[in-house]
């Protein structure tokens, strides 16, 4: 038994050694250019199945109202804020950058400056409302990038002073792989706050949640996680169903199309919304297309709610709805928890060790069945682990990241064979050498 345990431990070490070697080879990315499957699946995670299809249906969050700004200019947005603030919402979030990109304050680079009346109206509306959060953007200085600190943000681009001085400023950056604003964006997580120098900056959603319920938000911040996974609840996806054909098809990009109150740009202007809806709510003003049903892609993200979990697909969620989901998560205390790094490795090592022990047992007792049994066990383990990951995420919002376990399970069979072959070869060579030595000694004795 002791011999088998030592053997299993040795093979487990060998499996993880092989994993290390494979990871180093793949780090070189020699084959990536000719690897469309890896490229297509690079954004894929098993938990996406749980989000998009398998979890229990979430409930609507009735504390948040999202108002579409459509193509309104600043005067139009000012009118929206004035109308909404009459009904005393707890906070108004304006998911619109109202500044000059790059600080270029001339009429060519920043034509919005010409709209002096619109700017004054918006500034006045923000000032009078008193509880408006406007967006800023965290940026990197060129020198920081040149220094190789690629994920360090060191400066803030605020909205214009006539707006920012009368509002709460919070950054709207979300964690994606996008290189620029209109790039393809997949958002799974966000950073609740960011430290630049001595100043702590809050994310747009964090700041709005703070204005709504500072106790709950502080509890969330006390988790002290640099990056939080977003526990997406649902979308705002009101489709244009004018064609009969389209109505019969499930053309929505998510299975959870309307999970927040949504008001279209002209509905607010025409009074087609009850004012009481805004009272004590968080009201988010942002872009949901030129009108409800407009197939726009501006500020639209891929999220784990997307029915298509990998490969090419349509983006499913406007940025303002991503913020709404984060707020709903904070206020519902419905956070996503994850395994610690040491836990990931421990689970992988333990499972690998016992799998090897099982292989040794089968190899000794039923050697003729070993190949079939080992492959069968591996496949069964991979399926069960995948289901476990999805189920745990779907039912408890716990991200059971068993990537290392899955990798070790996939490698354990081949590694066992390789290890045994090497072991046999070494044994054979050592035995042969001993036999030769004995033979030589015998001959010497005879002589």
């Amino acid at each position: 038994m002791r011999k088998n345990i030592l053997q299993a431990a040795a093979i487990t070490v060998f499996v993880f050694g092989m994993m290390w070697v494979v990871s180093k080879i793949t780090d070189l990315k020699l084959f990536n250019a000719f690897d469309p499957i890896s490229q297509a699946l690079s954004d894929f995670e098993l938990t996406d199945y749980a989000f998009s299809n398998l979890r229990p249906d979430p409930l609507v969050d009735q504390r948040i109202v999202v108002v579409n700004i459509g193509t309104l200019n600043r005067a139009g947005i000012a009118q929206q804020i004035s109308t909404i603030s009459q009904y005393k919402p707890k906070a108004i979030g304006l998911d619109v950058y109202v500044g000059c990109e790059g600080g270029l304050r001339d009429s060519i680079n920043c034509p919005a400056l010409l709209d002096t009346l619109g700017n004054l109206l918006l500034s006045n509306a923000i000032q009078e409302a008193g509880n408006v959060v406007i967006v800023s953007e965290l940026l990197q200085k060129k020198q920081t990038i040149m220094d190789g600190k690629y994920d360090l943000l060191d400066s803030v681009q605020y909205s214009d002073e006539i707006f920012k001085d009368y509002a709460y400023n919070a950054y709207a950056n979300l964690v994606t792989d996008a290189d620029y604003q209109d790039d393809v964006k997949l958002c799974r997580s966000y950073m609740p706050s960011y430290q630049i120098g001595d100043q702590t900056h809050y994310a747009f959603a964090t700041q709005l949640a703070m204005l709504y319920d500072s106790t709950l938000t502080q509890k969330f911040l006390n988790r002290k996680k640099r990056e939080e996974l977003i526990n997406y609840r649902g979308n705002i996806e009101i489709q244009d169903t004018r064609a009969t054909l389209d109505k019969s098809k499930k053309t929505s990009t998510t299975n959870y199309p309307v999970y927040f109150y949504a008001v279209d740009v002209d509905q607010l202007a025409r009074g087609e919304v009850l004012g009481e809806l805004f009272t004590n709510s968080i009201v988010l003003l942002g872009y949901l297309g030129n009108y409800f049903g407009h197939p726009a892609w501006e500020d639209k993200y891929f999220t784990p709610l997307n029915k298509k979990v990998a490969g090419r697909a349509n983006p499913d969620m406007f940025g303002v709805v991503v913020h709404a989901n984060i707020i709903a998560m904070i206020l519902s205390q419905d956070y996503v928890d994850e395994l610690q790094e040491w836990q990931k490795y421990s689970i992988a090592i333990i499972l690998c060790f016992f799998t090897v022990l099982l292989f040794i047992y089968i190899d000794e007792k039923y050697p003729r069945w070993f190949d079939a049994a080992s492959v069968g066990i591996q496949i069964l383990q991979l399926i069960l682990l995948s289901l476990l990951i999805m189920e745990v995420y779907a039912w408890s919002s716990f991200k059971l990241d068993l990537t290392i376990t899955l990798a070790s399970t996939a490698l354990v069979g081949p590694c066992y064979d390789v290890f045994k072959s090497m072991q046999n070869e070494i044994n054979f060579r050592l035995t042969k050498r001993r036999r030769n030595a004995l033979k030589q000694q015998k001959e010497e004795n005879l002589a």
Partner: protein
């Protein structure tokens, strides 16, 4: 004291019961939708609470999203009348895990087999889906302040007539049930507007629209000239008589005042809907002036 405390809790309990005394709330609306609460039908507003006895009416190309008092959402896309009590019975606890897995696996298996690979076209759609009966270019001028704007009703209404100025500032927006509207250009909002842009949109789906049409008032010099000619017409110009209106339609057309002529033709048809000759004459008028 005890009674007061009990009374207070009874009050709280009744208040709590009252606050939950709704079946659904309106989450989002698109298009033309109505609610019948009591005896009358009224337009639906976002945030409105619906009682179990209420009814909903959804017109074509419209949409309503509801949230049940339990927090579960429900979408209505199909045209028709719905009883709220019936809708409440559709809201369940949600599918079980097994049925979710089954649905997911079955839908994944059948998705490819049922695919129509020619569902998308390599083209775009641009305006003009609603044919508006207004001339373009130099003919897009009007003399009389009541400008009749009419359009083809093959796309179902109701419609929205959006009026803007030259720099795209919205001046007015009118909800229209039928397929015509008389725009009163003497309203104060048009006082300093030289060129008026009008666009007809389907209310339920603004992407179905006529595109913008610019119309402008007849220049002063031309107005004086036409006024002189109208004086020569005597009472015919101002008469409400059917034939006089028909004659004036010809007069306006002859003087390239197509918008005014169009209005007169339609008024004639409205006064004598059973006379096919007037309809034929109107068709010819539309054809001559490339309005159809």
């Amino acid at each position: 004291m005890r009674k007061i405390v009990i009374g207070f809790f009874v009050f709280l309990a009744s208040f709590n019961g009252y606050s939950q005394d709704y079946a659904f709330k309106i989450l989002a609306v698109k298009g033309t939708t109505q609610v019948k609460s009591g005896t009358s039908w009224q337009p639906i507003k976002t945030g409105l609470s619906l009682q179990p006895k209420d009814e909903l009416k959804i017109e074509a190309n419209s949409y309503v999203a509801l949230v049940h008092k339990s927090g579960s959402p429900l979408q209505l896309k199909e045209q028709g009348t719905y009883k709220v009590a019936d809708l409440a019975s559709k809201v369940g606890p949600g599918n079980s895990v097994v049925s979710k897995y089954t649905d997911f696996i079955l839908s994944s298996n059948t998705a490819d087999a049922r695919k129509n690979r020619m569902a998308a076209t390599g083209s775009v759609t641009r305006g003009g889906e609603i044919k508006i009966f207004l001339p373009k270019g130099k003919s897009a001028v009007f003399l009389n302040p009541g400008v009749l704007i009419s359009w083809d009703d093959s796309k179902p209404g109701p419609y929205v007539l959006v009026v803007k100025d030259l720099v795209d500032t919205e001046l007015a927006r009118y909800d229209v049930e039928g397929n015509s509207y008389v725009l009163n250009t003497q309203e104060a909002i048009f006082a300093d507007v030289a060129i008026i842009s009008v666009e007809v949109q389907q209310k339920s789906n603004p992407s179905v629209n006529s595109g913008p049409f610019a119309i402008k008032k007849l220049p002063t010099a031309d107005e004086k000239r036409i006024s002189g000619l109208l004086k020569e017409m005597g009472n015919t110009a101002t008469s409400e008589d059917l034939l006089d209106k028909f004659i004036m339609a010809g007069f306006y057309e002859k003087n390239m005042l197509i918008i005014d002529a169009n209005k007169n033709y339609l008024e004639v048809i409205k006064l004598a809907p059973d006379v096919p000759e007037f309809k034929e004459a109107y068709k010819d008028f539309l054809f001559r002036n490339k309005l159809n």
